[in-house]
């Protein structure tokens, strides 16, 4: 039978604050174990948590980026359970009144198709410590006899982002995650690095016969450490579930771990107690009231969103998907590009320079484009000079190299050195005739059928004009003089 996959994603994203969520310990990856802890994040009796204002602002930014509702009233709750990497025996989280509700992630597939996946909510909580399972020899939980805990991560602000089951393939799930990552990076709320654990995700996967409206039994996949493993894990799970249904078996609702080395999902817990976290409002924390004015103030300072750039670059400017994605995924370069287009008014020509010559100069020198001496205003001037045919592309290339070296305004250089392209037909005719007179032998060769001499003659005319002649006009005039 043909099946359709139904996938929902749950992501945890560590926020890029200086300090932890409820105390002043540093929020820093890679510090010496157990050096970033204090009575508050260790849940010592008598200590009191105080929320980090930046983390709340980041949540508002995320909500706005995904067009979520930002309720006027929100609160923190305690989620009670026991686990050695959670020192308080409860996690401060949000239960029924999260900081954002609903929303939608609009993302694009490799072919540029835009899809949507609704969000259920994004809420704010604190991260747990990090356990290393020891005694089994390979660091895995199975067979380990004890665990070692580093509490540096305990209390780091963590955003939990839950999607609706709107995704229909592994490809969509990965594209959704990439969009989530680039958006959260663009609005400056997280590093979103899977390899450092600042982005962690689980996938809920079920399948159903195509055309069916009801959901099948879902499984939850954990332990996916890269986008590649997300894709492989989901594909493998869809195949596993399809084979089971085809064989007349029943899918069991369970939690699966992705085994990267063997390329399979494995059951993590078979006998699972129904979770009862006994959520209740945290009496140590007072409610949050987020006014419309505050939301508006955050909105006013938001960086451009990747999806908006996508619509502009791909749809309005007509860039291909690869170039569009390349620009968007380098936000500083995209900012530089946008500011240049404001001056040049020619997106395509600007993009040619930014992704072409300018990127090459950046690669060669090791200096990023936005930190180079070339300003968006000056690049805008250069594009304008080319578009107006004031200079040809060869002169433009030379000018760009001089701008990169710090010579400033290209317009000023052109005026100072008289580099404007010669459109005067009489001057052009003089350049051509001089070259023809000086290269009689080559002219003979050309007339005898050696057509590749033509390029040499064009070059000679360009040189004679000190690069100022319009190459197209030189071509036309030469052909005319040489008799076609």
């Amino acid at each position: 039978m043909k099946y359709e996959a139904v996938i929902g994603i749950e992501c945890h994203v560590e926020l890029k604050t200086a300090s932890k969520m409820f105390c002043g310990c540093a929020n820093r990856f890679g510090a010496e174990p157990n050096t970033l802890i204090c009575p508050v994040c260790m849940g010592m009796p008598g200590s009191l948590p105080v929320p980090n204002a930046a983390a709340i602002e980041y949540m508002i930014r995320a909500g706005l980026a995904f067009k979520a509702a930002i309720p006027a009233y929100s609160k923190f709750d305690r989620k009670n359970y026991f686990y050695p990497d959670m020192p308080k025996n409860y996690q401060i989280s949000q239960y029924d009144m999260p900081l954002t509700q609903g929303g939608v992630v609009r993302y694009w597939l490799e072919d540029g198709t835009i899809r949507e996946c609704r969000l259920t909510r994004i809420h704010l909580e604190e991260d747990t410590g990090k356990s290393t399972h020891a005694g089994s020899g390979d660091g895995r939980i199975a067979g380990s006899s004890y665990s070692l805990v580093d509490f540096n991560r305990a209390g780091v602000p963590l955003m939990e982002c839950v999607s609706e089951p709107d995704l229909r393939s592994a490809e969509e799930a990965v594209a959704f995650l990439e969009m989530l990552r680039r958006t959260l990076m663009a609005i400056g709320v997280s590093d979103v690095k899977m390899e450092e654990g600042s982005l962690r995700c689980d996938a809920n996967v079920s399948i159903r016969p195509i055309g069916s409206e009801t959901y099948g039994t879902k499984t939850e996949i954990k332990n996916m450490n890269s986008f590649r493993s997300v894709r492989r894990a989901i594909e493998s799970e869809i195949a596993r579930q399809s084979a089971m249904l085809d064989a007349g078996e029943r899918i069991v609702q369970e939690t699966l771990g992705w085994d990267e080395a063997n390329g399979t999902t494995i059951s993590m817990r078979s006998k699972e107690l129904a979770h009862d976290y006994r959520y209740f409002p945290d009496p140590d924390l007072v409610p949050m009231e987020i006014s419309e004015e505050r939301v508006a103030a955050v909105r006013a300072k938001m960086s451009p969103l990747p999806i908006d750039r996508f619509e502009r670059y791909a749809k309005e400017y007509g860039f291909n998907i690869k170039q569009t994605t390349q620009l968007i995924d380098a936000p500083e370069i995209a900012d530089f590009f946008d500011r240049t287009v404001e001056v040049s008014k020619h997106p395509q020509q600007t993009q040619n320079f930014v992704l072409g010559d300018l990127s090459r100069l950046a690669n060669e020198s090791g200096i990023a484009i936005h930190q180079s001496p070339v300003s968006p205003e000056h690049l805008g001037e250069l594009v304008t000079l080319v578009e107006a045919k004031t200079i040809n592309s060869k002169i433009a290339k030379e000018l760009l190299a001089r701008m990169w070296a710090g010579e400033g305004s290209p317009k000023a250089i052109v005026e100072r050195e008289g580099l404007a392209q010669t459109s005067d037909p009489a001057a052009l005719a003089r350049f051509v005739d001089e070259v023809l007179a000086a290269n009689a032998a080559s002219v003979e060769e050309y007339r005898a059928g050696k057509s590749n001499v033509f390029g040499f003659l064009v070059g000679a005319v360009m040189k004679n004009s000190r690069g100022k002649a319009d190459p197209a006009a030189v071509n036309a005039l030469l052909r005319e003089r040489l008799g076609g």
Binding site: P84, V286, M288
Partner: protein, 97 residues
């Protein structure tokens, strides 16, 4: 809520507290009394009073995102029941959660 709805053994299990049969009986009765006391609210006319989870009136108590010094590691680790090097050592985790 009345005490018939209170499964004291279940609550004790969630809280990882081992209770004897006598204690189940005793604490069950005490918690039942507490719930019964709170239930007197049901006799009042509270339609005009919005629900709340907080009795203090302050809102939006936050701190600036500033880093402050943490505790000395030795002090922290010496307070742990078991340590190994720079880590807190805990019993194996599998089977819990």
């Amino acid at each position: 809520m009345s005490s018939e709805n209170l499964d004291i053994a279940y609550v004790a299990k969630l809280a990882r507290i081992a209770l004897t049969d006598d204690e189940v009986e005793r604490f069950g009765a005490q918690l039942g009394d507490l719930l019964g006391h709170v239930a007197t609210l049901a006799d009042l006319d509270l339609d005009s009073i919005p629900a709340t989870a907080q009795v203090v009136e302050s809102r939006n108590v936050v701190r600036e995102d500033c880093e402050r010094p943490s505790l000395d590691r030795e002090t922290v680790l010496n307070g742990a029941p078991q340590r190994q090097g720079a880590f807190v050592r805990v019993p194996r985790i599998i089977g819990q959660a």
